[in-house]
């Protein structure tokens, strides 16, 4: 039985997988929301450092919110009717639901694990279950997939898609899928932006828990200095590498997110003609460049392991400095009334 359903869906490359998917899905419904915009409204910016939980043999560091926050929150704040199905018990049922959606002509987003993703470059295939992509067509056994990290659209077989949708481990996707039902003609972007910024500021500086947001960054900076003494140079180097991998890879990573957020602030500042937002965007841009510098120096440190103690204390100080810079931005954002 040869069935073919293709939805007229444009694939655009983006920096962050989920905000890119959100932006592309909205574009399908004739709403031009750019990727930084979706990222900013949906609270893409986040940080948490959990030293006692080990992921891939190193402390857990996350630069993004729980999976699906960006899509869910941006839909909520923009007031769009969307559906999120958190999990399917039966994998076959999950695939059938996807088929039904495609027949109705609805492009559907999914949470997947990266480890078994066949079109992904092999060096990025680690156990990482918070990746997002959009399925927009089916041809017999093949599914057409738009992965915003990739330059072009790709195809996956039924078995491969099932495997990545049911990847196991931390934050297992369990067949999670989401789509947009209908979009009103006029979107109230101003309210959405205001709510989005408020929530981001809350998550970065106001959460009363020391491992989340700016406080988490500071904590990590302090820990970073202790690593060579506590774990020895080999392990310290690997841990530092893990920080950098999280800050650089996996869809631009944490350092890249600062650029996207800065771009979001700039875009909103221009949209509402707001000088303070433009200033915060400049501050954010500088912070982002400082992050890049941090990863650059850190990577050099990983490469030649001479004199580790000295370098680590310097990197730790740099991290704390970055945390201070970011705190300034969020404090300024907190005062802005939109």
């Amino acid at each position: 039985m040869e069935t073919k359903t293709m939805i007229d869906y444009t694939h655009r490359q983006a920096g962050h997988c989920e905000s890119g998917a959100t932006s592309n899905l909205l574009r399908f419904y004739n709403q031009e929301i750019s990727e930084p915009m979706a990222f900013g409204i949906g609270n893409g910016l986040y940080f948490s450092y959990i030293p006692f939980l080990k992921v891939q043999f190193a402390p857990m560091i996350s630069f993004r919110n729980l999976p699906n926050t960006v899509f869910h929150r941006s839909m909520k704040y923009l007031g769009i009717d969307a559906t999120v199905i958190k999990k399917f018990k039966d994998p076959k049922e999950a695939m059938l639901a996807l088929d039904r959606n495609l027949e109705k002509g609805i492009p559907t987003g999914m949470q997947v694990g990266v480890f078994n993703l066949t079109f992904f470059p092999p060096e990025y295939r680690m156990h990482y279950n918070m990746h997002n992509m959009v399925c927009f067509g089916k041809e017999g056994n093949l599914y057409h997939i738009s992965d915003t990290v990739m330059e072009t659209a790709h195809v996956l077989t039924y078995e491969d898609l099932l495997r990545v949708r049911y990847a196991k481990g931390v934050f297992a996707p369990e067949g999670k899928m989401y789509w947009i039902n209908s979009v009103n003609k006029e979107l109230d972007i101003r309210t959405a932006v205001s709510m989005g910024i408020k929530k981001t500021v809350y998550e970065m500086i106001k959460v009363p828990f020391p491992l989340i947001g700016v406080k988490g960054l500071r904590w990590m900076g302090r820990d970073l200095k202790k690593w060579p003494k506590k774990h020895g140079p080999e392990k310290a180097s690997f841990y530092l590498g893990q920080v950098l991998r999280m800050a650089e890879d996996f869809g631009t990573g944490g350092a890249g997110f600062r650029f996207i957020y800065g771009d979001f602030l700039k875009e909103t500042g221009e949209m509402f003609n707001h000088s303070e937002l433009l200033e915060t965007s400049r501050m954010m841009g500088k912070t982002a460049n400082r992050w890049r510098e941090f990863t650059y120096i850190g990577a050099r440190n990983c490469k030649n392991r001479s004199k580790p103690e000295e370098d680590y204390s310097m990197l730790g100080d740099m991290m704390i400095e970055i945390a201070g810079m970011e705190e300034q931005v969020y404090k300024k954002l907190d005062k802005i009334k939109l």
Binding site: Q13, A14, G15, K54, Q56, F57, F115, P121, E123, Y124, M126, H127, V149, M150, E151, K168, G169, V170, A172, S237, F238, G241, Q242, L244, R245, E248, D249, T252, G256, F259, I260, G262, D263, K266, S281, R282, G285, K286, A288, N289, R292, E293, T295, Y296, G298, A299, R300, C302, K303
Partner: protein, 131 residues
């Protein structure tokens, strides 16, 4: 240090897939460029894969010396730790750790072995030996 310390590389040598990268320059503009990740990225990725390779080789030696069960080797090959593996096979953590002992592994029944083999994507025969 120059303003833009991590430029966008357009050279094929710096990776396999091109990504969309955001940059910020001195005049306060954000740019979107399609290019490869830079040198730092390759260093840290290489470091991770070296580390995994070492762990796999370590586990292989242990299994050949009879100090660990083949599950330990295949677990490392899957880049998993016992906690991760326990989630994948759907058993408790201590039970997975228990199965890492060679003596315990020999007594495992077919059903349990099948569960592991399915996760490792190999046959039960392959699971029993390490080349």
């Amino acid at each position: 240090m120059e303003e833009n310390s991590n430029p966008v590389y357009t050279d094929q040598r710096y990776g396999q897939s091109r990504e969309l990268l955001y940059t910020y320059d001195k005049d306060g503009q954000f740019h979107r460029n399609v290019g490869y990740h830079g040198e730092p990225d390759r260093v840290i990725l290489q470091q991770a894969w070296d580390h995994f390779g070492e762990r796999i080789e370590d586990a292989r030696q242990k299994v050949l010396a009879g100090k660990a069960s083949p599950i330990a080797y295949y677990m490392e090959k899957l880049l998993a730790d016992p906690l991760n593996l326990s989630m994948m096979v759907g058993m408790s953590l201590w039970r997975v750790k228990w199965h890492l002992r060679p003596a315990v592994f020999k007594r495992l029944n077919e059903k349990t072995l099948n569960k592991y083999a399915e996760v490792f994507n190999i046959s039960v025969e392959q699971l029993k030996k390490v080349e």
